[in-house]
C-alpha cells in the first residue's frame, strides 16, 4: 500500500471525525446528530483500520472491528431507542445559539492546533501531525456537554469526547493494547446503557429529559 | 427514517417514470395579434370573486392539468407579466387597484377574463357595491365563461395565448 494513499486515507478519515463533531453542533435534530455520531464511529474505525493495515498489526485490526461494532452500530441504535421513547427530545435546546457555538467551535479548533503544535513537533509523522484534530474533537465534545440541555445531547457529548480520546491514542501510539481498548469501549457502552436507563426512567416519572428540570430532583 | 427513505426513492423514480398527466387536448385557435410564442406570464387580479375561480385556476396549474408545460405562469408583479388574469366582478374597492395594475403592465399586454363574473358580471351584475363590468374598464382579449370555469377551459384559453 503506497504511502501517499495511506496518508491521504488517514487524513480523510481523521478529518471526517472532526467534521462529524462540528456537525453535531450545527444540526438541531437529535436524529441527525445520532446519524453524525454513527458516521463518526465508522470514520474512527476507518482510522484504526488504515493504521492497522499500514502497521500490519492484528490487534489494531480487531480493535477497528470492535470500534465499528460498538460505536458504529450498537451505541447509535441504543440512542435511537432513547429518542423513540421520548418525542420531546427530537430537537436539541442549546444554551448558546447555534452560530455562536459554531464560532466558538472554530476557536476551540484553533486552540487545539496551538497547544498541540509543540507536541507534534517532537515526533513528526503522518499520524502525529493529525493529533490536533483529535484534540479538537475532544474539546468540541466537551463544549457540547457544557452547552446542550437535553440528556440525550449530553450522552452525545460524552461519546464525542470518548471518540476524540480514542482518535488521539490511535494517532499517537498507533494502537493501544487490545485489552485496554476493549475495556474502554465496553466502559463507554456501560455508561450509555446506564444513562439510557436513567433517562428513560426519569422520563417515565417526570416526563422530562431537561437537565435543568432534573435539578429539582436533588431532594 | 423509513418513511423518508421511501419518499426519496419515489422522487428518484418519478424523475424517470412517464408523467401522470392528462393527454393534451387539441390545439385551439390562437388569439391573433399577440405573439407571445410559448411564454406567457400573468398577474392574477381578484377584483371581487367568490374564490370559486381561484380554486379552479389553482387546479389548472396543479399536476392534473399542469398549464405550466405550455409556458404559462402566474407572476408576482404586473411589471413581469404579459397580462392580467381577472376574476370576479369589478367592485368599488378594487376598481382603483385594477386600473393601477393595468397601468403597470408593460406593452404589449393581454386581458383575460376568467369566469362569468369577469366576463359579463354573472350573478352579481346588479349587486350593491359593484362598480361596473370588466368591459367598461378595458377591452378583454380572452373570455373564459363558466361559473366556475373548468380547469380544462382555463388551460385551453392559456394555450390559445401561448400558442403551444
Amino acid at each position: 500500500m503506497s504511502t501517499s494513499f495511506y496518508i491521504g486515507a488517514l487524513e480523510l478519515a481523521t478529518g471526517a471525525v472532526l467534521v462529524c463533531a462540528v456537525m453535531t453542533l450545527w444540526r438541531r435534530q437529535v436524529r441527525t446528530i445520532v446519524t453524525m455520531l454513527r458516521l463518526q464511529g465508522v470514520a474512527l474505525a476507518c482510522v484504526a483500520g488504515v493504521l492497522a493495515w499500514h502497521e500490519h498489526d492484528l490487534g489494531l485490526a480487531i480493535t477497528a472491528l470492535l470500534v465499528l461494532a460498538v460505536k458504529g452500530v450498537l451505541v447509535p441504535w441504543l440512542l435511537r431507542r432513547v429518542i423513540r421513547r421520548d418525542p420531546r427530545s427530537r430537537e436539541t435546546a442549546p444554551l448558546i445559539n447555534v452560530p455562536a457555538s459554531l464560532v466558538s467551535a472554530a476557536f476551540l479548533i484553533v486552540v487545539s492546533y496551538v497547544v498541540t503544535s509543540k507536541l507534534t513537533a517532537l515526533a513528526p509523522s503522518a499520524a502525529t501531525r493529525l493529533v490536533p484534530i483529535g484534540v479538537a474533537t475532544v474539546l468540541v465534545g466537551y463544549f457540547m456537554l457544557v452547552t446542550r440541555r437535553r440528556a440525550v445531547s449530553q450522552i452525545v457529548g460524552l461519546l464525542l469526547v470518548d471518540n476524540g480520546i480514542a482518535l488521539v491514542t490511535f494517532l499517537l501510539t498507533a494502537g493501544v493494547p487490545l485489552i485496554v481498548e476493549l475495556g474502554s469501549t465496553l466502559d463507554v457502552l456501560l455508561v450509555v446503557v446506564v444513562l439510557q436507563v436513567l433517562v428513560v426512567n426519569t422520563g417515565a416519572r417526570h416526563g422530562s429529559f431537561d437537565l435543568d428540570e432534573m435539578r429539582e430532583l436533588h431532594d | 427514517m423509513s418513511t423518508s427513505r421511501y419518499r426519496r426513492g419515489s422522487i428518484l423514480r418519478s424523475l424517470f417514470s412517464k408523467a401522470r398527466t392528462e393527454p393534451a387536448a387539441a390545439m385551439p385557435d390562437i388569439v391573433p395579434g399577440i405573439g407571445l410564442r410559448g411564454s406567457l406570464q400573468l398577474r392574477h387580479v381578484d377584483v371581487g370573486s367568490c374564490n370559486g375561480c381561484e380554486i379552479e385556476i389553482a387546479s389548472a396549474f396543479a399536476p392534473t392539468y399542469d398549464a405550466s408545460r405550455f409556458g404559462a405562469r402566474l407572476v408576482a408583479s404586473p411589471r413581469h407579466a404579459d397580462g392580467v388574469l381577472v376574476t370576479g366582478v369589478v367592485t368599488r374597492n378594487m376598481a382603483g387597484a385594477l386600473e393601477r395594475t393595468l397601468d403597470a403592465l408593460p406593452q404589449p399586454s393581454v386581458v383575460v377574463a376568467c369566469g362569468d363574473c369577469a366576463v359579463n358580471g354573472g350573478i352579481f351584475r346588479e349587486a350593491y357595491g359593484v362598480e361596473a363590468t370588466l368591459d367598461s374598464f378595458v377591452n378583454v382579449d380572452v373570455r373564459i365563461p363558466g361559473c366556475p370555469p373548468h380547469p380544462e377551459a382555463i388551460t385551453q384559453a392559456l394555450r390559445s395565448l401561448t400558442g403551444r
Partner: protein, 321 residues
C-alpha cells in the same frame, strides 16, 4: 504559449466561447433545475428551454421607469450583467488560458460578483418602495454573511495551491489529482456549496418562484423591472448561477478543462463542462426538492456552518502540511 499574438487570439476565442456558453447555458440550467423539480412533483412542467423563450419575449417588450427612480435603476441591469459577463470571460471554465487569465484572481471574481449584488441592492432601494427596500436589506444581509465563508474557503484553496490565480489553481489541480481528495478541498467544497446556494438565491435560503412579496429576497428587488431591463437582470442572474456552478465543478473536478491551446480541445472541454455542470444542477435541485425554505433568521446558522467549515479547511491545510 509560444507566440503572444496566437495566444491572444486563442484567449479571445476561448473567452467568447465561455460567455456564449454561459449566456445560453445559464438559463438552460435554470430550466433543467425547474424540470427536475416539476418531475419530482409528478408534473411534466415547462420544457428545459422555457427560460430562453421567456428572455426572447422580455427583450421585445417595453421597459418601465418608476417615478422617483434615478439613473441607478436604469443602469443597474447593465452593470449587473456586465460584471457577471466579465467574470465569466476571464475565469477558467473551458480553458486555463482565457483572456486576462493573468488577472483572473479569485478575489477579483469574488469582488466582481459582490459588485453585482451591491448594484442590485441599490436598484432595489432606488424606487423608494417598501418591497424593494425589504428585498435589498435581506439580500445584502445574506450577502454580507456569505462573504466571509466564501473568502475563507477561497483562501483555503489558495493556500493549498500557493496562489490565488484561478487558472493556475485549476491547472495545478489537474497535475496533482491528489489535491481533490484532501480534507481541505472537501471541506472547502461543502462550504462553497452552501455559499453558492445562498448567492444564487436557491432553496433553502430563498425561494426563486415565490409569489408572496413578504417571502421574497432576490425577487423583491426586481419587482420594479419590466421588459428588456428585466430580461437583462434575469440573464445576469442566470449567468451568475452558471458561473458559480461551473467554477465549483472546475475547482473540484477539473478534468476536461483544456490546458493546451488547440480549438479541438476547447470543443471537448465544452462537452465535458456541460455534462459535469448539468449533473451538479440535478443534484442541487434534488436537494432543493427535499428542503423547505429556512426562516430568515435561521439562514445565519446555515452560513455560520459554512464559515466554520471553511475555517476548518484552512486549519486542516495548516495541520496536514
Amino acid at each position: 504559449m509560444t507566440d503572444i499574438g496566437s495566444s491572444l487570439g486563442y484567449g479571445f476565442i476561448a473567452s467568447l466561447t465561455q460567455v456564449v456558453l454561459v449566456a445560453i447555458g445559464g438559463p438552460l440550467l435554470m430550466g433543467l433545475m425547474a424540470k427536475v423539480r416539476t418531475r419530482a412533483e409528478g408534473r411534466v412542467g415547462a420544457p428545459i428551454y422555457q427560460p430562453l423563450r421567456d428572455l426572447r419575449k422580455l427583450m421585445a417588450k417595453e421597459g418601465l421607469r418608476a417615478r422617483y427612480s434615478s439613473v441607478v435603476l436604469a443602469a443597474a441591469p447593465l452593470v449587473v450583467l456586465g460584471s457577471t459577463t466579465l467574470a465569466v470571460a476571464i475565469s477558467p471554465l473551458v480553458t486555463t488560458h482565457p483572456l486576462l487569465s493573468a488577472s483572473s484572481d479569485l478575489f477579483v471574481i469574488v469582488y466582481l460578483l459582490l459588485t453585482g449584488s451591491i448594484t442590485m441592492a441599490l436598484a432595489g432601494l432606488d424606487t423608494g418602495t417598501a418591497f424593494g427596500g425589504m428585498g435589498s436589506s435581506r439580500a445584502i444581509t445574506i450577502g454580507a454573511l456569505a462573504e466571509p465563508a466564501l473568502l475563507v474557503a477561497v483562501i483555503a484553496l489558495s493556500i493549498q495551491a500557493r496562489t490565488s490565480n484561478l487558472p493556475t489553481i485549476v491547472a495545478d489541480t489537474i497535475t496533482h489529482p491528489v489535491w481533490t481528495s484532501t480534507p481541505t478541498r472537501l471541506l472547502a467544497l461543502v462550504a462553497l456549496v452552501i455559499v453558492v446556494i445562498a448567492e444564487t438565491g436557491r432553496l433553502p435560503v430563498d425561494n426563486p418562484n415565490t409569489h408572496l412579496e413578504l417571502t421574497m429576497i432576490h425577487e423583491a428587488m426586481t419587482l420594479e423591472y419590466a421588459g428588456s431591463d428585466l430580461g437583462l437582470i434575469t440573464l445576469g442572474a442566470a449567468m451568475r448561477l452558471g458561473l458559480l456552478f461551473t467554477l465549483l465543478v472546475n475547482l473540484f473536478v477539473p478534468w476536461g478543462v483544456a490546458t493546451g491551446s488547440s480549438v479541438l480541445g476547447l470543443l471537448a472541454a465544452v462537452v465535458f463542462l456541460v455534462l459535469k455542470t448539468s449533473l451538479l444542477a440535478v443534484v442541487v435541485s434534488l436537494i432543493e426538492v427535499h428542503s423547505a425554505k429556512l426562516r430568515l433568521f435561521r439562514v445565519p446558522e446555515l452560513l455560520a456552518g459554512g464559515f466554520v467549515l471553511a475555517v476548518l479547511a484552512v486549519i486542516t491545510e495548516l495541520v496536514t502540511r
